[in-house]
């Protein structure tokens, strides 16, 4: 198999990219909930101190203030904190003041999923994707690597309306070439195969890719589709990719309830009914610990993904 090159954490790519974008877009402002050093919007803060707003450890207010700022002269507020404090703690502010009026606020959820850097279980939000995709007017994006993060940020700043962007903490394998361009609402085929269609999203797609490469030696040829935009879902691409093999597995670093797996299952049930299984974080909360140990315990490391695919294929043939 081809080993993936390790790249930067998405949070670092994000901090650098919004700083780059701000050079040519004076409407960008950043609001921080006292996590800039962790989320890496401190990169922006150092470059543009006058466009950086520390709003303290008060996320409901921060999201509300971002909405108010978005009503003045086309400002584009970028709100940054841990995903748990956006999607969960500040949910009502987002629902009422950002999503309902469809204001142009970008929500950057750092430390998403299982790997939140030894913080603790309260900072782990496994259901950010279900929460945010269930919200009307909200776009949900989860890039896989630093290259896609840069491209996705440019696209979501261009897009007029609220977007939730899921970012991770640790170094992240690179999937895409430098010339890759993210398209909002489009799924991407990462690997072509004929035995089973696997859908993955966010940084977890890299684990699915490693799993697929492992399975070659076992005679399983995976068709891997990366779904960076979970909402709006690329229904046509999902259906086409699923019908290619007639057998589907979804895998994600997030809850299987209502997340990517939920979205794919809903879509295929409606447009192309076929066997689907959802791999990912089950109906659980998390805990603190080193990344590798967490991936193992919660069953989403590349070997776990490979085993899940192998088992699913085995039961169907």
């Amino acid at each position: 198999m081809t080993a993936l090159t390790m790249g930067k954490p998405l949070r670092v790519a994000m901090g650098e990219t919004i700083t780059d974008l701000a050079a040519t877009n004076d409407r960008l402002v950043v609001l921080d909930g006292d996590t800039a050093g962790s989320t890496r919007v401190d990169i922006f803060q150092q470059a543009y101190p006058d466009r950086f707003y520390q709003t303290g450890i008060a996320e409901m207010n921060m999201l509300g203030m971002a909405a108010g700022m978005a009503t003045v002269d086309g400002l584009i507020p970028i709100v940054s904190t841990f995903s748990a404090f956006i999607a969960s703690r500040a949910h009502d502010s987002i629902r009422v003041l950002i999503a309902q009026p469809k204001l142009n606020v970008k929500l950057l959820g750092a430390y998403s999923g299982l790997l939140a850097g030894m913080t603790g279980k309260t900072h782990l939000l496994f259901d950010d994707i279900p929460i945010m995709r269930a919200m009307a007017n909200m776009v949900v994006v989860a890039p896989v690597d630093e290259i896609e993060t840069r491209s996705a940020l440019a696209a979501i700043v261009e897009y007029e309306g609220p977007v939730y962007l899921r970012l991770n903490r640790g170094n992240t394998p690179i999937i895409f070439d430098e010339d890759y361009r993210f398209e909002l609402g489009k799924a991407v085929t990462v690997r072509e195969g004929g035995d089973v269609t696997v859908f993955a999203t966010g940084t977890h797609t890299a684990r699915a890719y490693e799993a697929a490469e492992q399975l070659v030696t076992e005679g399983i040829d995976v068709h891997l589709v990366h779904v960076p935009t979970i909402k709006p879902l690329d229904v046509e691409a999902v259906v086409t990719a699923a019908q290619r093999t007639g057998l589907v597995l979804t895998t994600e670093e997030g809850t299987v309830i209502g997340g990517l797996g939920g979205a794919i299952a809903e879509t295929l049930a409606e447009f192309a009914p076929m066997p689907v299984t959802r791999h990912g974080l089950q109906d659980v909360f998390g805990e603190s610990g080193p990344d590798g140990a967490l991936l193992d315990k919660y069953g989403i490391s590349p070997p776990h993904v490979a085993a899940a695919i192998k088992e699913w294929v085995g039961t169907r043939h």
């Binding site: 409901m60 207010n61 203030m65 002269d73 003041l97 309902q100």
Partner: protein, 290 residues
Amino acid sequence: MTQATTTYTAEDMAEYARQARVRILEAVKHAGGGHVGGPFSAADMLSALYFGVMNVRPDEPNWPDRDRFVLSKGHSSIALYTMLALRGYFPVAELLTFDSVNSRLQGHPDMTVTPGVDMSSGSLGLGFAGALGIALGARANGRDFTTYVMVGDGECNEGIVWEGAHVAARYNLDNVVAVIDHNKLQQTGWTGDSYEHRISPYLGNQLADRWRAFDWHVIEIDGHDIPAFLEAARSAGEVVGKPVAIIAHTIKGKGVSFMEGDFTWHSKVPNDEQFALAMEELGETDGGTP
């Protein structure tokens, strides 16, 4: 702060407030639902804001330099709609569509449908945060309009109010004026000596003291005294380096004797007899149009 160049007198504003109470009650009666007590406690101040304080252009509701108003106590939406209608943002007759499907006048203020509504609100406390964001955005873009935000005293129970109060003071947001409608009652509220007796969520000077403790410049007035409100708004404009909270002591249900100070009129539709009596007390000689 840009003071409106206005030909309206305090007497005119009192008359608009009286008309507003009539229209509010008509709309609530017609809709068969809605709030009365909170809108009535706010009516005089809303009239003063729209006819005497704020620099707005009803025929150009999105004029970038307009003063902003956010009704954070969004349950009193009908009071805002009534004032916007009287000020000329849309026809007064439209008030009777209040709370109905497809109406621009929804139960809670919706900035996407109603001309003159600068921020959606209704989930208590959120409008206040939005207003602070507008004020911060104005500063970021060098605009010198003032953002007025009306917050209920019951609404001050919400933690987000105090999150925002802290941040606004840290940013020295002297382009925002919070009008706290201190009508001493909530929907259910805090029980006093008996089940029928409800008392203020903030006793004595507690509410003013809290805003002062958060480093806001506090002005206390009688919220039904229109000249006092106009003077408070004027002096708020002279405050430098601090956000201003006008603690307005009001009476819930103000204007109709049997509603005043009675928490059960928070959101109650008057029956025909009560409606007729209220119209008489409000000086509406034709009996109103329920």
